[in-house]
């Protein structure tokens, strides 16, 4: 077992190879001309998540149905192969939970709170604004269609996000319960409840992780250890001097914690499973506004903690010795890992209306761009009335114009350098390109 002193020495000797702010260069990317959902519980990124199935390698992403192709504005579930090939069935599955009276529920009142995947199953937790107050929560298993769901009822405060953890034994769900307590539930892969644990009192659990055969969950500076198999308590230990923990993660043996300091900094700690401190590091992030606050912490397969803010990702060395800030698009919403890649989803630009999913190589030497970042595609002008021109670095194999519901309107011919819009009514369309990197879609706005 490492000690805090030893690790601190190792960290201090590491070369600081990660410096500055670096645009990520995708191995492949995909975009959708929608997904900029408005605020729901002050979480504008609520609907947009990415998950990697560790068994199949498939990448799943949820994107808000902003154009209300489904009238209740649920979320699309898209699926990609590791090489970027779009495996989403047509029409794309819509995830959501219906409201008692849809007319009384404005759009953006229902969303994906958490997304996980394993062995062909996609697990998604949902929250829906109730008609007067409070959220209604549920957890769903999707396997080539809806498989099972668990209804969690109302949270009086309306602040809860049902959160999911998934391993080979099934799903751990944690969420505030209706009577102001907090519940943990372990389900097997078929949806049967294996154990439940109810914490009384009004304190909220911020985050939890599965490590070894334990579930470790944090609230108000105390880590509660539960037996993964039975839910029995295994004790507690304090962390970060009673500071609110933003997130917790694990490399399989140790735990990583992060919290936002009040002065524009993020502190990250590594601890052993019993709570012994291995190392701690504070990273300066700039003004402590929403964009710089960490909302997720992930540990990649190389053991490096990734602290995720809306405006960038801080990747630390596995011993906490260095950090680099990576950026992409206007906002980062979620990150998931396979063995060799990171998948990142978010919003491409603040002014636009585009959701992206990118795959980046986990080898930092290729993840870091050696030249200035250039967009993979430029469409101009936008909006356009008669013709829009394409400027792209790589080779285009085919191009199509689709309606926002996915219907093919026209197929373009080589050299794929322009699109004639004269025959299209005013509106928003999708330009679909197939290139060496796979298929990508881009918004196309016709205005006259």
């Amino acid at each position: 077992m490492r000690t805090a002193i030893t690790s601190a020495l190792v960290a201090s000797l590491l070369p600081s190879f990660l410096q500055g702010q670096t645009p990520l260069v995708p191995v492949w990317s995909h975009t959708w001309p929608y997904g900029q959902e408005g605020s729901f519980n002050s979480m504008p990124w609520r609907d947009n998540h990415v998950a990697v199935d560790p068994i199949t390698g498939l990448v799943h992403v949820t994107v808000d149905d902003e154009f209300e192709v489904a009238s209740t504005r649920w979320d699309y579930l898209f699926t990609f192969a590791p090489d970027g090939i779009d495996l989403t069935p047509a029409p794309p599955p819509l995830l959501g939970s219906p409201a008692p009276n849809p007319m009384a529920f404005p759009a953006n009142q229902e969303g994906t709170a958490s997304l996980m995947a394993r062995d062909g199953k996609v697990f998604h937790a949902r929250e829906r604004r109730n008609d007067t107050y409070g959220n209604v929560g549920s957890v769903h298993c999707h396997e080539n269609g809806p498989r099972w769901q668990l209804s969690l009822g109302r949270d009086l405060f309306g602040s809860s996000d049902a959160r999911l953890l998934v391993d080979e034994h099934g799903t751990i769900i944690f969420r505030r319960t209706q009577d102001l307590n907090f519940g943990f539930f372990a389900l097997d892969p078929n949806g049967w409840i294996q154990w439940s644990r109810n914490f009384t009192g009004m304190l909220e659990f911020d985050c939890a992780v599965i490590v070894s055969n334990e579930v470790q969950a944090v609230r108000e500076g105390t880590v509660h250890r539960l037996d993964r198999t039975t839910g029995e308590p295994l004790g507690t230990y304090p962390v970060l001097a009673n500071q609110p923990i933003t997130e917790i993660s694990s490399n399989g043996t140790d735990l990583f914690f992060c919290y936002a300091g009040g002065n524009g900094s993020i502190t990250v700690e590594e601890r052993t499973i019993s709570g012994d401190l291995v190392w701690t590091r504070t990273v300066s992030t700039g003004p402590p506004d929403d964009g710089n606050l960490p909302f997720d912490l992930e540990v990649d397969p190389a053991g490096r903690p990734w602290v995720i803010t809306q405006l960038g990702i801080y990747v630390l060395g596995s011993d906490g010795g260095a950090e680099e800030r990576f950026v992409y698009g206007a906002r980062i919403n979620d990150v998931a890992f396979s063995e060799d890649r990171a998948y990142i989803t978010g919003m491409l630009d603040n002014a636009g209306n585009t959701t992206y999913l990118i795959a980046v190589d986990m080898d930092l030497t290729t993840m870091v761009a050696e030249q200035a970042y250039e967009p993979a595609l430029v469409l101009y002008p936008q909006p356009a009335s008669t013709t829009v021109y394409l400027q792209r670095a790589g080779r285009v194999h085919s191009a199509r114009v689709l309606s926002i519901s996915g219907q093919v309107i026209s197929t373009l011919g080589a050299p794929f350098d322009r699109v004639n819009l004269e025959h299209l009514p005013v509106g928003t369309y999708v330009l679909e390109l197939t290139t060496d990197q796979g298929r990508s879609t881009h918004p196309l706005v016709v205005a006259r």
Partner: protein, 364 residues
């Protein structure tokens, strides 16, 4: 994640749930943090929607009433923030519930705590209509125990006290679907081993059959005229208890608890009684509590009860052959089987009031 004010951590309640999973493919589950083991589940055979009734014993939604929690066929919760509720006054509770084509039929019990004598009586709700059922002499105790809704009529049963205390009679009433009484009968158990109450009612052809174990008490379906009694278990000593019945195509399947043993069997006009003792039973370390039976498909039927701190689900063949036994959470309080789906409700664990309902399709 947004944060709440820090309040004192009061305590921690937990329960590891050891279950022999029932032989069904689970489709949806719902949890609520109240109800305390009094849940009733019904499945509308026309709309395929479900209505789950739970006592709001933590007064979160509607103080101490049974709240109506509707679910779409896939288990989606469509209850408003303040759900509709069952309420006929203080000290009331829901006994049985059926919904057909969105019309609810409910049997409720009520005690008039404001009366000089705290009279107990039944309320039968047929849609918007209400029928209050009391003893022929008022201010006595009346208990409704079961309801069977058929295509053309409602049958309810229970007990009414007649004359003096400790003089209970079995009572059964048939109404039309608007709650208008078609017949109303009392049955005196004097001279039999039966208790003075009908614990369950089913309809088999032209006969209405009541459970007053060890007896089945038969009445004419059209007139309510007493026909005969039958002893389906024929055990010595007699099998006394509040049995539950379910009618198959030509058999009545029954289950009855006596001491630590759950007996089950069937009876028909042509075959007489089979079951009870003789291999048709399950014995537990503690007395089972609560009982429900429902008819499945292919002649199978299901028994739910609670014993040794766990829900117990028995899958029984048409000849009362025990096909499987399963354990499920902390209790089973009600079963329903409609359109190939089995619904089960009860308590999730023994140490807090969390209620569950689950719906699934039985495996072959």
């Amino acid at each position: 994640m947004s944060r709440l004010s820090i309040l004192v951590l009061v305590g921690l309640i937990s329960h590891a749930l050891k279950a022999q999973t029932p032989p069904i493919d689970l489709e949806w589950t719902a949890l609520r943090w109240f109800g305390n083991g009094t849940g009733v589940i019904t499945h509308d055979p026309v709309t395929n929607e479900h209505l789950w009734a739970l006592q709001d014993d933590i007064n979160t939604l509607n103080a101490n009433d049974e709240v109506k929690l509707p679910f779409l066929p896939d288990g989606s919760d469509v209850a408003p923030a303040y759900p509709d509720r069952f309420n006929v006054g203080s000290l009331d509770h829901l006994v049985d519930l059926t919904v057909i084509d969105s019309v609810p039929y409910a049997l409720m019990a009520h005690q008039n705590i404001g009366g000089v004598v705290q009279d107990q009586y039944w309320h039968l709700f047929a849609g918007a209509a209400e029928l209050i059922i009391q003893s022929p002499e008022e201010d006595l105790l009346d208990v409704g125990l079961d309801m069977q809704v058929e295509a053309d009529a409602i049958y309810v049963c229970g007990s009414s006290m007649v004359g003096t205390a400790n003089n209970d009679r079995g009572r059964s009433i048939k109404t039309d679907l608007q709650g208008n009484v078609l017949w109303d009968v009392l049955w005196d158990p004097v001279g039999t081993d039966a208790l003075g109450r009908f614990s369950s009612v089913v309809v088999l052809g032209d006969t209405v059959v009541m459970a007053a174990f060890p007896l089945l008490v038969l009445f004419d379906r059209n007139t309510g005229t007493f026909i005969d009694t039958e002893d389906p278990a024929a055990l010595t000593p007699p099998l006394q208890g509040d049995a539950r019945l379910v009618a198959g195509s030509d058999r009545i399947h029954w289950a009855c608890i006596q001491g630590n043993t759950l007996h089950f069997g069937y009876w028909s006009f042509t075959e007489g009684g089979t079951g009870g003792g003789g291999g048709f039973f399950q014995t537990y370390a503690t007395p089972p509590a609560g009982l429900d039976v429902v008819l499945g498909e292919n002649g199978e039927w299901w028994i739910g009860t609670t014993a040794e701190g766990q829900g117990r689900l028995l899958r029984v063949g048409t000849d009362a052959d025990l096909l499987s036994t399963s354990t499920l959470y902390a209790s089973i309080t009600d079963l329903d089987f409609v359109n190939g789906k089995l619904s089960i409700t009860g308590k999730l664990d023994a140490t807090n009031p969390t209620s569950y309902v689950l719906v699934g399709t039985p495996q072959p």
